[in-house]
Amino acid sequence: MSVPLIELQNVTKRFVKTLDLAEKVANLLGAHIREEVVQAVDRVNLRVDTGEVVGLVGESGCGKSTIGRIVAGTLSPSDGTVLYRGQRVASMSPAEGRQAALKVQMIFQDPLASLNPRMRVRDIIGEAPRVHGLVGPSEVEAYVDDILLRVGLDPSYKQRYPHQFSGGQRQRIGVARALAVQPEFIVCDEAVAALDVSIQAQVLNLFMKLREELRLTYLFISHDIGVVEHLADRVAIMYLGRIVELAPTEDLFARPNHPYTQALLREVPRLDTRQHAFEPIKGEIPSPLDPPPGCHFHPRCPHAYKPCREQQPRLIEIAPERLCACYLNNGEGYSS
């Protein structure tokens, strides 16, 4: 098997809220205030091959954006390793590390928040390639025009500021900025969530067109299962910091294995389910500050039994290319 483009091995990310001075003083006086630790990502293994689109689905607070940021290199993991083309990112030389970082770019949910409002589109797109020496100063204009055309914007707009564009156009600028440094891998963090349906379809089509033209690889993070189903080759389902199921898209949607995946797919509103009697899963997503022991999903799971409450199930292969972390697969075989 070829070397994956990006691989996460046992990646863990903890966010710690350290004590401030007042709390430290209070502790000296015997108050027993403890640091708050959020385990945002818990020993995640994920492999993304060249040319593949991997969807990462989960509800708010499940750690999917944190994984995206670790992959893109804007956060470093507390534990575990990130491999880029088989090489450890953490042990690369600064020059190599910069090259690797350039090849992985990110597109964010809110384009207005991620574009500098005081920069013209020309500079937003042209600055990074110039700084990194991808184009000479005299070629920048033509280069920016070229990229704007590629994402479906009129090059005459490049003198404008981000606020002069509509939401869909702004998202295209965000895409153009990511493309400007000739990346191989793009992390899309809820990249279409803020757009209207008709504009969302345009941007999704743009992603697919770029994938073919530039042979891009995507990690597509979304809470919108319909969008992920449409784009992704493989889908990872996350719940409270852990991947609970990972499978090729068609298999996953045809035969979801984990009880959480099953519930999630049942809840997704679809065009072809009419006057549907909603049968929700009970309960709320627990706080990541204080996750339940064992399988994180057990308090909401209709099939939970004793071991689920005691020990975390491991992500095991239940069929070729299919991984699932659920005790129901032990002995009872592969059923849904």
Partner: protein, 327 residues
């Protein structure tokens, strides 16, 4: 549709905003009817006037906006131009609204019980004790565990889904005849959205409350509503029962919207997208507002088409609808 059990009939409603830059026709001649126990979905993209339609019904349009034309018949009583004291007696009592952001509805510095009891006692002469008991029962009915405890909490102590339940419970306190829900589940996670849709669906069936569900999400409408109105640039372009509208859309815009929703059958293929973007309401194109984006537009579309009833129980505003047999 029998007029007898009509809860709300909106006729030719026009709400304009008179701004310095010009007149914004946010709602421009909207008519629809909602019967008792019926769920109507009002669908459209941002800026199409769907929320302003909801605000107009409740008389919540602020200056520079104004309802300049039309009738809003709520159980036969016209709400347009109704004196404010009378409107206040209806609002929150017979007609309730649920907003997208529950923090808009809830006062962050008051406990939930204070807010609920106040809401009850504004409209009814009951003792605090009775009001408290009713608050507790309503919270329980909407699926909030241990309501006695939760009544003592402040809004920030709830999660997003729980907060939205509280605001739905407040809307239900007086068993209203009509609820207007403006994107109430858009900010919520899928499993929590499922829970709330379940509760709402159950309530409408049990209490025969009429519901207007305003959303941009066609898939929610498909699962929840009985009838649907599709809005574009301040006008209803298509309306009818959910099944025929979603299965055989007549208007090119409805067709484009449905095509834009990623679904099973077209996995990996390009989505049939609508070109261009929604026009600014200040500067609408002449004739049909959808003309510049429409694949079927021709010279006839330079005139604004009227909304016509081409099939029974179906209305469409288009010169070139997608009728079976016709091209």
């Amino acid at each position: 549709m029998a007029e007898g059990n009509s809860t709300l009939a909106v006729k030719d409603l026009k709400t304009y905003f008179f701004t310095k830059a010009g007149v914004v026709k946010a709602v421009d001649g909207v008519s629809f009817n909602v019967n008792q126990g019926q769920v109507m979905g009002l669908v459209g993209e941002s800026g199409c006037g769907k929320s302003v339609t909801g605000f107009s019904i409740l008389g919540l349009v602020d200056s520079p906006g104004q309802v300049i034309n039309g009738r809003i018949l709520f159980k036969g009583e016209d709400l347009v131009g109704l004196p404010e004291p009378r409107m206040q007696r209806l609002r929150g009592n017979r007609i309730a609204m649920i907003f997208q952001d529950p923090m808009m509805t809830l006062n962050p510095v008051l406990r939930i019980d204070t807010q609920m009891i106040e809401a009850i006692r504004t409209h009814e002469k009951v003792s605090r004790d009775q009001a408290w008991r009713r608050s507790r029962d309503t919270l329980g009915r909407i699926g909030i565990p241990s309501p006695e405890e939760r009544l003592k909490a402040y809004p920030h102590q709830f999660s997003g889904g729980m907060r939205q339940r509280v605001s739905i419970a407040i809307a239900l306190l007086h068993k209203p005849d009509l609820i207007i829900a403006d994107e109430p589940t858009t900010a919520l996670d899928v499993t929590i959205q499922g829970q709330i849709l379940y509760e709402v669906q159950k309530l409408c069936r049990e209490t025969s409350t009429a519901l207007i569900w305003i959303t941009h999400d066609l898939t929610v409408i498909a699962g929840l509503a009985d009838t649907v109105c599709v809005m574009y640039a301040g006008k209803i372009v298509e309306s009818g029962d959910v099944d025929p509208v979603l299965d055989e859309p007549l208007h090119p815009y409805t067709r484009g919207l449905i095509g834009s929703v990623p679904s099973h059958s077209r996995r990996g293929q390009p989505l049939p997208q609508i070109p261009g973007m929604t026009p600014p309401l200040l500067n609408l194109p002449d004739g049909c507002a959808f003309r510049p984006r429409c694949p079927r537009a021709d010279d006839a579309c330079m005139q604004m088409p009227d909304i016509t009833s081409l099939l029974p129980e179906r209305e469409v505003r288009c010169f070139h609808p997608h009728l079976q047999g016709a091209s």
